[in-house]
């Protein structure tokens, strides 16, 4: 066995998703509880706190430029006197939004490509898988930067670009799933009553292949947040004044001598959030496939930021 081939290995048994037992298994899983709670707290804080506190991310405190963390500004203020904590919350909204959107795009493209490739096989499969090989051979940073110069830097653009550089992993997973399922009786039965290929793919094969995609998708959200931060840090992602965890770190390096807290907090939020997504992803895989190995986290599939 090697970790790299795991995503392609056809799964022998059907992964079962039954909501009550899944929930029970997740609740017993320590990593799931820690990761899930952390994730819920972060999402709730970013979504609700700005509304409850009635704060403006662009509000300037003229008495505090680059002020260190204090009771008044718990994460300090930036070079323009804006409260870092408030900006971390607003930045979190953008980063999380990009993360989920990019995952949806990547898993969407990958799911369709993988299903088509696995179902039709032959030259279609060969061609699509070579495209996957091409996309996987170019180090991702090149693609991320080149595409962002070409496409743009809005929230949707950034999510689209990240999705365009990650669809290969879900594609391979989906292909393996569909290939292992397509000769099952219920698929043959569907075909025998005259169901079209599209119908078989959409109604029969894809819904039954969704479990490993959910696992991959969870981890992809975290990885997309990292990708966004890299792009924004290099100036090609979300553009200021809209805060994102990535672009908040761009200026941080300039002021690293005078305001180190600006470099610490947004990055810490990224680490905690991505860690939480990884833990939940691992736990989901364990829960969906209780007989399988425990998550080793060493999946190349989702990494390579």
């Amino acid at each position: 066995m090697s970790v790299a081939t795991t995503p392609e290995a056809p799964l022998e048994r059907d992964l079962q998703i039954s909501a009550p037992s899944l929930w029970t298994r997740l609740r017993r899983h320590k990593a799931a509880v820690v990761g899930g709670t952390g994730l819920a707290l972060i999402v709730l804080a970013c979504v609700l706190l700005p509304v409850i506190l009635h704060v403006n991310p662009d509000a300037i405190d003229f008495l505090a430029f680059r002020a260190p963390p204090s009771l008044h500004h718990i994460m300090g203020t930036d070079d323009l006197g804006r409260d870092e904590f408030v900006r971390v919350l607003y930045g979190g909204r953008i980063s999380l939004l990009v993360g989920f959107l990019a995952m949806a795009i990547g898993v969407g493209i990958g799911g369709v490509v993988g299903a088509v490739s696995g179902y039709f096989g032959g030259s279609v499969d060969f061609l699509l898988m070579r495209v996957v090989d091409v996309a996987l051979s170019i180090p991702r940073l090149f693609l991320l930067l080149l595409l962002s110069v070409t496409i743009g830097a809005s929230v949707f653009d950034v999510a689209l670009i990240i999705g365009m550089t990650t669809w290969m992993y879900p594609a391979r997973i989906m292909r393996a799933q569909v290939m292992s399922l397509k000769s099952r009786e219920y698929v043959v039965a569907a075909r025998s009553i005259g169901a079209s290929s599209t119908r078989i793919l959409l109604r029969t094969l894809m819904p039954n292949s969704i479990a490993p995609l959910i696992v991959n998708g969870t981890i992809q959200v975290g990885q997309a947040i990292v990708s966004e931060s890299v792009m924004s840090f290099l100036g090609y992602g979300i553009q200021p004044p809209t805060p994102s965890w990535g672009n908040m770190l761009t200026d941080a390096q300039t002021f690293i001598n005078t305001a180190p807290w600006l470099a610490i907090f947004p990055g810490l939020m990224i680490v905690i959030t991505v860690l939480a997504f990884n833990l939940v992803g691992d736990a989901l895989r364990d829960a969906l496939d209780p007989t399988g190995q425990r998550g080793a986290m060493g999946r190349k599939a989702a990494k390579e930021a």
């Binding site: 066995m1 180090p139 940073l141 090149f142 990292v226 290099l234 390096q253 080793a296």
Partner: protein, 317 residues
């Protein structure tokens, strides 16, 4: 076996062509076109830009430009930099050494440490050490590499003043290896932590898997000392999948190195790519991206071949 190598190389040709087409197409759809940098230059007249467009063949259809670019690239001519007129390969060559120095240091240290940490974790599974290492590697994997670089810089360069913040040499000081090494420590450490988090997990899980096997029990049962069981029996069998995955992670390592270079202003290819992209110097951008991607493909083939040669269980027909 040579048939296998030849077949792998043959199969990789469409992939390499695909890489060049994709990169070429994206680079040529940059807004303002490849000559965008000249459009803002006040000393350039419209006529001069027109002349340059024709001279560089940019008025021809894209596929036509691609074919002539590919024809020259296959002979090692990637065109000339827009910024200083030097051949692209020459520009890249000047930066190659710095990137190799950084990546090689990081690879040797991190892969070495990965084995130490991974084996120690596997042997003492569920101990405090294993637990701490697991938590650290989870954290390491969740960390954007540039942020790790900034934090290390903040701590060791800004606060403690132990090490220089950026660059490869101290400007104005005659070259010395010691000076170079001092500059290397922070970027290399960044890259080491970034890869170690991942690679030590591979070693750990591979070792754990092998340690469960029957032949290990047999080795212990016949009274071999634990050291011999670990290194002569377990590690040798755990090595192959680990080395394979490590080599397949080459593209991942390249991305990490490129980002690390931009954080520490390390004058390697990553930084060159980034500045060239900002300057719209697209022959250099295309050259770097294509060359590195081709290297990735070759490394992947090499990995498969090594795997097939070393592991007698694999048939390469």
């Amino acid at each position: 076996m040579w048939v296998y190598v030849a077949r792998r190389l043959l199969l990789s040709i469409p992939v390499m062509l695909g890489i060049t087409i994709l990169i070429f197409a994206i680079a040529h759809s940059l807004p303002g076109g490849p000559l965008a940098m000249y459009l803002d230059t006040p000393t350039m007249t419209h006529a001069e830009i027109q002349h340059l467009t024709v001279q560089l063949g940019l008025n021809r259809p894209l596929y036509d430009q691609y074919i002539s670019w590919l024809g020259k690239a296959l002979q090692g001519d990637f065109g000339h930099s827009f910024v200083d007129g030097q051949p692209v390969l020459h520009v890249i060559g000047e930066r190659l050494g710095a990137t190799v120095e950084l990546m090689l240091t990081a690879v040797i240290v991190s892969y070495g440490l990965a084995f130490v940490v991974g084996i120690a974790s596997a042997v003492t599974q569920y101990s405090v050490f294993d637990y701490v290492m697991t938590v650290l590697s989870y954290a390491g994997m969740a960390m954007p590499v540039f942020w790790l670089g900034i934090i290390l810089m903040l701590f060791f360069a800004v606060d403690l003043h132990w090490l220089p913040t950026f660059g490869m040499f101290t400007p104005g000081v005659p070259y010395s290896i010691w000076d170079n090494l001092k500059h290397l420590i922070l970027p290399a450490t960044t890259l080491v932590v970034y890869t170690l988090a991942q690679e030590s997990r591979y070693v750990r899980s591979s070792m754990l898997e092998v340690l469960q096997q029957d032949f290990i029990r047999t080795a212990r049962a016949k009274g071999l000392p634990e050291r011999a069981v670990l290194y002569r029996h377990a590690l040798r069998n755990a090595l192959l999948p680990v080395v394979t995955v490590m080599m397949l992670d080459f593209a991942f390592l390249v991305s990490g190195a490129l980002i690390t270079e931009t954080v520490f202003a390390w004058p390697g290819m990553g930084r060159l790519f980034f500045t060239s992209l900002q300057q719209g110097d697209y022959p250099v951008v295309v050259g770097i991206a294509v060359l590195i991607s081709v290297v990735v493909v070759l490394v992947n083939i090499l990995t498969d071949v090594i795997y097939a040669v070393v592991d007698p269980r694999i048939q390469y027909s």
